[in-house]
Symmetry: C2
Subunit: 362 residues, 2 copies
Amino acid sequence: MSSEESLKRLYQIAEDIYEDLVRGEIPKMKLAARNRSNIVFNTRYGVWKYGDSKITRSAKKLDGAYMLLRTLYVMEFIKEMIRDKKSSTLREMYYISEGWGLAKFHTQDESNKLAEDLEVITGYLREDFKLRPEEDGASVIGNITVEEINRKGKPMRINCRDDVGDSGYLIPYNVEKEKLKFVDVDADFVIGIETGGMFDRLVENGFDEKARAILVHIKGQPARSTRRLLKRMNEELGLPVVIFTDGDPWSFRIFASIAYGAIKTAHISEYLATPTAEFVGITASDILNYDLPTDKLNDRDIAALQSELKDPRFQTPFWTEEIKLMLKIKKKAEQQSLAKYGLDYVTDTYLPEKLTELGVMS
Amino acid sequence: MSSEESLKRLYQIAEDIYEDLVRGEIPKMKLAARNRSNIVFNTRYGVWKYGDSKITRSAKKLDGAYMLLRTLYVMEFIKEMIRDKKSSTLREMYYISEGWGLAKFHTQDESNKLAEDLEVITGYLREDFKLRPEEDGASVIGNITVEEINRKGKPMRINCRDDVGDSGYLIPYNVEKEKLKFVDVDADFVIGIETGGMFDRLVENGFDEKARAILVHIKGQPARSTRRLLKRMNEELGLPVVIFTDGDPWSFRIFASIAYGAIKTAHISEYLATPTAEFVGITASDILNYDLPTDKLNDRDIAALQSELKDPRFQTPFWTEEIKLMLKIKKKAEQQSLAKYGLDYVTDTYLPEKLTELGVMS
C-alpha cells in the first residue's frame, strides 16, 4: 500500500466531515470498538480480528469535538510528511501538537490512540501514514538477500549472512514491499528467538548454516515490523515459521501475538499475524522432560496463566494442556537454562529434537 | 589484549592458590574494594578509578571457600571457551554452574560479580574471557568504514553510510582491535544519541552528511561495547565526541558514565571512558532558552539530582549550575520535545547552535 493511496483515504474522512457540516448535521466518525469483547476469529485469515461492534465519535459532546479537531490536524500533518518525504515518531507527533492550540494532545496515550483509530477507520497502516514507533525492529542472520530502499531512495542489496556483522541485519521500521524486497533465499525455515543471549548462541553455533535456518531476534514482545517480516517470509517465501521463547506466561503471549494477532492491533491482524507459526518451547513439558533449572511462578505469573486459559487465542488442546501443566508444577524456565547441559546442547540436541517432531527438520 | 594473554593471567591466580596450599597456608585472593568510597580521580587518564582500599577473600570462612571454588570452576570454563573459540553470555555461565556441585551459583548476581572480580584482579576485560552481556550494542550511521572479523574469522568491510540499511551498522559485543578495525573515516565529530526516535530523526534529516557527523545510537545507559567504541573513535581517529540526551538526572548519569566512568566499571575506566566528551543537552538552561515542553520532576528525580550534587563526577561549575537550575525550575524535558518547533528544528537550529558554541561545528 502506498502513502499516496492512504492519503486519498484520509481525504475521504475530511470530506465526510465536510458533508456532515454542509448538510447541517453534527459531524461524526464511526469506528470498530477496540476491546476484548469485540474480538472474533476470522476464518478467512485464521487470525483474531475486531467484530461488528462500532462506536461513534460525534462533535455533539466537547470531548468528541476535540477528537475530531485533533483528527483533522493529524491528517494535515500526515499530508505534509508525505509531501516532504518525511516521517515522524509517535512521540514527535505528540510534541508537534504543542502548536495546535485547542487540538493539543494532553498525553502521548491520546496521540497513539488516534494513530490507531486512523488505521481502524482507513484500513491502512500507521507506517503508510509515516508514523513510526520508537522501538527497534528485529535483527536477522541467515542466507537471505534483501533489497532495502535507503533514505536516499537508492536500492541496497544485503545478504543477511555475508554482508553483515555478527549482530546481523537490523530491519527498518517499514518492511512493506516498497521499502524492503526479498531478492533471494536459501533456507528451510525461519526461527524467531526471544532473547538476545539465545540469538547470539544460535549465531555463534552456526545454527543458520547447519540447520538451513533464518534466525530472527524478536526482542521480547515483537515490534510490528518484526511480526510483519515473519508474516511476509512465511507467505511470500513459503517458509515455515517457528518461535523459540522462554517458558513462562509472558512468552506464551509473545507467541500468540505472532501467530494469532494482538488485541491492540486486531484491526490489522491479517497483515501482522502468521497463523501457521509453531511454538518450539520452552513448554511446561520441556521443563519436566529436559529437567531444566527453573524459577517458581509468582502471583502475577499465575494470574497471567489463568487469564490465558480464558483467552480465545489459547483454546487449543496443546495450549490448555501446557498452561494447566505449568500451573500444576508452579515453575517457569528461561530458554538459556538449556545451557545446564553445555553451550551446544540447544543446537545439537534440543532444537533438532523439537524441529524433527514438528516436521520442520528431517 | 588477546584471550591467550588473559589466560596466562588467570593461570597466575590458580598458581597463587596452589602455592598457598603447598606452603600450608589458607588460600586467599586480594582485590580492590568496589564501592563509592573507594573511587578516586585518576589524573593520568582523567577518569574515576578504584583507590587503594583492598578486600581479601580467604577460604578461612565457608563463604570465602565457596567463592574460591567458584573462581576455579569459572577459570576452567573460560579456558575451555578460549580453546574451543566459543563465548558465553553471563546468563549462560550462571546456568552452566548447575553442573558444578558445591560451586553452583545461587543467583546471577553472584556470577556477574565474579566475572567483574576477575577483571579487577587481572586487569583484563570480561570480553577477553569470552563472557558477554545480553544487552545490545550501539548502531552507527556515518561515513566510517570498519573491518569486522566475523564469526568465521573472515574480515568484512562495512561502510556505515553506504553498506547498511536505515537502521545502521550494529556493533558486535567485542569492539577490541582484533575484532573491529577502523579502515577509513571522513567526518568531523561523533554524536552519541540517547533515544531511538532522535537517532532516526538525525538519520532521516541527513545530519550525518550535512554536519559531517558519525551518529551513534547509545540506547539509554550505554553497553560497555558502546562506551568502548566512543573511546576508540575519540582516541584513535582524533574525533571529538558529543553526547545528546534527554534533560533529566538519569540522562546526566549516562553522560557521566561515558565521560568519566561508572562506579561498577571503575576498574576499567581507562578503557571505557572518554574524558573529553562534551554534553550538548538537553540542559535546564535549554529548557528555559528554547521554551521546551516539560514534565514535572518527581521525587525520585529530585533525589537523583541531589545525589549528583555530591557525586565527584559532577563537581564542575557547568554541572553544579545546571543541576541546581533544574532543581529550581523543577522540570525535565525529553530530547524529542524539540519537535515542538517542527521536525527539522533539531538539525537546522538546535544542534548547530550548541555545536558552534562548543567549537565542534563552525
